[in-house]
Symmetry: D2
Subunit: 181 residues, 4 copies
């Protein structure tokens, strides 16, 4: 699934946004898609905290974090109000889609379309809307940071090279060279 164009998300409802989020509307930004379930221990202990750190570390003009509650088990229990209360309690501020259930099976539609193997899953989508990474389970901060940093810096084959400085993507003391020799 990696390196294909990222399909749009199909949500039964969205949280933290007035309007449906379209990936096509995020072209030019790196997108981090964080799939989780509120009753999945690894999502809660590892996936969600990492998504929060990504959301806090990068400039939202450069990196858009999108959550996806991919309900593929405990369908009767995990209703929209449960997901909503979880988002409130964990103080998630980025847009989160509640995946659209399938008509024929337990795997919801977006999860199916992305062929996710479970939760947590992490998908990196580049500025052109292409899936560049698709991981299931825990991923090291150092590695995912490097991949996001490379995608921020990567402007695509037709674009002019982007200068590397603090204003584009990484909010830190990362500096631009002063007249390098």
């Amino acid at each position: 699934m990696a390196a294909a164009p990222a399909p749009e998300l199909t949500a039964q409802t969205w949280f933290n946004t007035d309007d449906e989020v379209l990936l096509s509307g995020l072209r030019g930004r790196v997108v981090v898609l964080s799939a989780f379930q509120v009753l999945c221990p690894v999502s809660v202990s590892i996936g969600i905290p990492q998504a929060l750190r990504i959301h806090q570390t990068f400039d939202p003009k450069e990196v858009a974090v999108i959550g996806l509650h991919a309900t593929f088990e405990h369908h009767a229990a995990v209703t929209a109000p449960v997901v909503k209360a979880f988002i409130q309690e964990y103080r998630l501020k980025y847009p989160i889609a509640l995946d659209q259930p399938s008509r024929s099976g337990p795997i919801p539609q977006t999860m199916e379309r992305y062929r996710m193997r479970g939760t947590p899953s992490l998908v990196l989508i580049d500025r052109q809307g292409i899936i560049r990474k698709h991981a299931f389970g825990p991923v090291d901060d150092l590695r995912i940071g490097a991949e996001i940093g490379a995608l921020i810096q990567d402007a695509g084959e037709t674009a002019s090279l982007r200068p590397l400085h603090a204003g584009t993507g990484i909010e830190s003391g990362f500096s631009t060279p002063r007249s390098p020799q």
Copy 2:
């Protein structure tokens, strides 16, 4: 000090390398300079483990990790055999310089030249030999990963754009787009 050309290291001795390491010989690679002291608790609990993770995560053809034991306190106790035994016990495999003492004060020469404020310090040097980040104390893995990833991807103003794929820098399932549209 950031964004200036990185000065060479002055070592009284090197570990894990037969020859003195020259930064000028590492042009084309991103260099991560990890300054530490064996009796500095934050170096040992945070700085060294992070340097090890960086060394394990990135392709050494893309990212060179260099250690610097910047002895600025406990000079009489922390002799070369202590640093050598520490390197062995902590299984550090990257080249490590034991900083050259100053003739006039407690701050050793490389530490002075880089104007480091203490240990641990982390310096990122780009492919052209320019200092791009200089941090004192703990740094998040996500942030340092992003900065290294951007420097890997950054080929400089005169270079052609580097394709982003697993073979260049990040050893992971990070993928190249298949015929992106």
Copy 3:
């Protein structure tokens, strides 16, 4: 509330047990009462893992771990099936009461009776059924371990002294003296 007789729990339902658990039926054992909520981040990241460690560390003949889901917020969302699915996913094996809602307010009956300030709360009850500790929020493992260890060893004023050995309470290499002089 500490040092008073521990009141019985009032549950709308119990999980992991066929019969209602009565504290009066646990006399002679130390009881660890772990109050939590499935959508409470500190319960999930700290309270529940600690209760699991307590359950795994001590001999159940000596230390009985009892959970209490003290639903005092998100009443409409957090239904019995949500709590049941959480217990399954987090592999909690000890008996857990779903607290009986109040007829007049948000605080459920057992939580009210114990005057708990929130979740997570931890209550230690001695072999005679007396509350010996009542903590709200995170508690160090070392401290709670010491308090449980003391209660295991404490046989009460009228009982004969219990010998300290591996068979009573702590499953470890903790040994009995061989003919101490």
Copy 4:
């Protein structure tokens, strides 16, 4: 070695105390003997922090923490000034013995006498001077806490039972029963 009388320590020098510490002078207190080496990664990352937590958690009138630097490797490098500087940097405040070297081999005398298998090692000695636990490598806080708590509470076969309250051993809100029925 467990359950035998604890032999006295033989030190080439002591830190953090004016006088040699004799275990015989600590009768009536639980003694936690924490053996470590400054260049042993598991000592530094796990053993030392746990000894510090024990030292901070328990009343020193009840629990005496004693360190032992059991130099069994890197003898030439790890001199007394190295151990002294480490103790200063890690802010260890409890008495620490630098083990007396053997005349015939690498294992120093106290380490040999206690038959320690390596560092870190943790030895628990009861109020009567009997070894009750001897562990090599990491030990859970919960378990070691329980064992210390039991030893604090355990007054020995001939003593009258000690009441359990905050004043004896555990500095916390651990309470005495008010007229238990």
